[in-house]
Amino acid sequence: AKADDDDEGGGSSAKSCVDTSGATVKVGFLNSLSGTMSISEKTVADSLNLAVSEINAAGGVMGKKLEVVQEDGASEPKIFAEKATKLIQSDCVAAVFGGWTSSSRKAMLPVFESNDSLLFYPVQYEGLESSPNIFYTGATTNQQIIPALDYLKGEGVKSIFLVGSDYVFPRTANKIINAYAKANGIEVKGEEYAPLGATEFSTIVNKVKSADADAVFNTLNGDSNVAFFKQYKNVGLTAAAMPVVSVSIAEEEVAGVGIDNLKGQLTAWNYYQTVNNPANTKFVKAFKAKYGNDRPTSDPMEAAYTSVYLYKGMVEKAGSFDVAKVQAAAGGVTFDAPEGKVTVNGENHHIAKTFLMGEVGADGLITTVWSSPAPIEPDPFLKSYPWAAGIGG
């Protein structure tokens, strides 16, 4: 068939084979269990499993138990696309949970759109996206980066230095930061990108040092963080002299980077293990009971956990597992998540979240030093920020 024969994206191309007639309904988990990203994504798979077992123990979704089909994305976008196809077409799952890197999400997006299926994506990301087939339960930029800048501004920071890994999230984040800085009279003293996985930071650290900014905004990813902070400390820079705000360092990374290298540095998230509310106490306790006491909980894990409950809420509100019905019912679904109350935005499929500025403590845990007064409505395209006009076309 010619492409023009179809009105839109080939919606006719695949018929859903989801079977909801039995006592169980299948859902797919798609996380990297091998490759470089497995470090992070395994933890997400764990908390997804926790959520499912809790839900099943409590009677399931609309009386049906969830049956998990786990797939390995192998840290490769094309494998994510392939496995997503498999989950939808061969395993006939009702929804898929997973993905971490933007590239994995971008690779899966057309699969979910053309097969008209649902993906729950649990990681903070660079925004500028909104697909009817994806629910984004991590933060978009106006729920993480912008409030972090607000915080810095409030602390009297006049100049910042940007350090990031060379890929889409840091580049987009820094575009936003630059626009914000321009609008708010903050000077951006430098913007440096290291190749993904880079371990040599001597020059970048030299540049940071000689730029002498008030703070560093760090969007580095993975192992690069370890190298960056060690070498940052090696040249004599400290949290007191020049604090670093990181957006990708969560509890489980702290140990790897080294508490002594991170102590006092800032992180920007929507959840920390130390968040104090009953829902979180229950979540942390359940998680540790299931996976061991030494396992910390972190923002993406919490977002993943939350995503399963949100799905449950949507399905039950819709009274059906049918994709169109779930989509229609999604808006306004809420959940008392460990991070606090979250609400699904029916328009852009993100969720309203509270921002938490954190500081790494001597025990390796992160404590909140500032939080947004209320959950922030998601605005992936930054429509409500006049200074951001022009970002994202």
Partner: protein, 382 residues
């Protein structure tokens, strides 16, 4: 007789790809197989460069990527419509289509580009490398460095190459919806047939004088120089052909996988290409193609069942095959074929050695050897 074995194997492969697979595989599996076929096309090229020419190229990802990106650029532009700007550029770029994208709006330029871009890059690189007599491990490591550089370059140019995300979200392939199951089957057949045609062409090349010359260069590059050839040119041809094949594989990969990103062209995927070739049998004709498909298939099905086990399995497979089966799986059934040399030409009057009176002893010990396999196969014609 000996010529029959490869022919039979070829027909078997053709039958399996064109008749059997479409009949028994689900749409999803078939589309996996089409992806594997694109790897097989790359593998055939590596077989030529490495198996025959001795150039272990750890950088086929570069050419695979060039072909793929050319195709992907066209598909993105096509989706954007006449004069339109691809979606990701609006997000991450300056909202304009860069000049070097424009030519690929045209399907014809794209088809030419898929062949010519890898060919030209390979020619330039090859001239630089082979004329300066860089070879062996130097060449292997250099080609690896180049593909690493290429991946880094792609990642750094977010606004024009899609950066780390690569290019994806395609809707149509030369006007056909990529997600339509019927079209996906058509793409499968297209890929399989291209693979088979390439294999047939390669068979001819292997048997040609050029094929022999390439082996000569592999075994004694300097010596070939003293026969009046410039070995650089011979290697160059093989290298460029292998680059073009990688480009074709890459171009077909894009509509099938629906994505091309730097992680498909870097160091690791480049080595993965070589894996299949080594497994299948680098010096044989069908070995690389079959090996590539087999390894990719094993990867997919194993990682479905035992995600973290795959690494062990892949590693172990490598070790065992290279160590104990240096000729690859092709070595198993066709030891005879592997040893097959050119059959005695028909012009030769007699298969029985008739040593000239003057040097009888030179011939005798060899003729007396019972165990050698190369009994003259008189009359086996091309």
């Amino acid at each position: 007789m000996k010529r029959l074995v490869p022919l039979l194997a070829y027909l078997l492969l053709a039958g399996a790809l064109l008749l059997l697979a479409p009949a028994i595989l689900t749409d999803f599996r078939l589309s996996l197989l089409s992806r594997f076929c694109t790897f097989a096309i790359v593998a055939v090229g590596i077989g030529l460069a490495w198996g025959r020419g001795g150039m272990l190229t750890l950088g086929q990802g570069l050419f695979f990527g060039l072909g793929a990106y050319v195709m992907a650029m066209h598909m993105k532009l096509d989706d954007a419509g006449p004069g339109g700007v691809p979606d990701f550029m609006k997000l991450y770029g300056d909202g304009k289509t860069p000049g070097w994208w424009e030519p690929f709006r045209s399907p014809i330029v794209t088809l030419l580009g898929i062949i010519l871009v890898p060919a030209i890059v390979a020619t330039v690189l090859g001239l630089a490398v082979f004329k300066r007599r860089v070879k062996g491990a130097y060449f292997a490591i250099l080609s690896q460095a180049l593909t690493a550089a290429f991946a880094i370059l792609l990642i750094g140019q977010q606004g024009t190459t899609g950066g780390f995300n690569g290019l994806n979200g395609f809707k149509s392939f030369f006007g056909y919806a990529v997600n339509d199951p019927v079209n996906r089957r058509l793409i499968y057949f297209l890929t399989a047939i291209i693979l088979l045609v390439i294999l047939a062409g390669m068979a001819q090349l292997y048997r040609s004088r050029f094929g022999e010359l390439l082996v000569a260069v592999r075994d004694g590059e300097e010596r070939v120089r003293f026969l009046g050839y410039d070995p650089a040119n011979i290697k160059l041809v093989a290298y460029v052909v292998s680059a073009v094949l990688a480009g074709i594989g890459g171009a077909l990969f894009v509509p099938i996988a629906g994505i091309i990103s730097p992680s498909d062209v870097g160091v690791v995927p480049s080595i993965a290409f070589v894996i299949g070739v080594a497994m299948g049998g680098r010096t044989t004709l069908l070995g690389p193609a079959v090996g590539a498909i087999a390894v990719a298939w094993a990867q997919t099905s194993l990682s479905e069942n035992f995600p973290s086990f795959w690494s062990y399995f892949q590693g172990g497979l490598f070790v065992i095959v290279i160590l104990f089966l240096p000729g690859g799986i092709a070595q198993l059934p066709t030891m005879a074929t592997r040893l097959r040399r050119r059959p005695k030409p028909p012009a030769d009057p007699s298969p029985i050695p008739q040593p000239r009176a003057a040097e009888p002893r030179a011939a005798e010990p060899r003729a007396a050897e019972p165990a050698t396999t190369s009994a003259p196969a008189t009359g086996a014609v091309a």
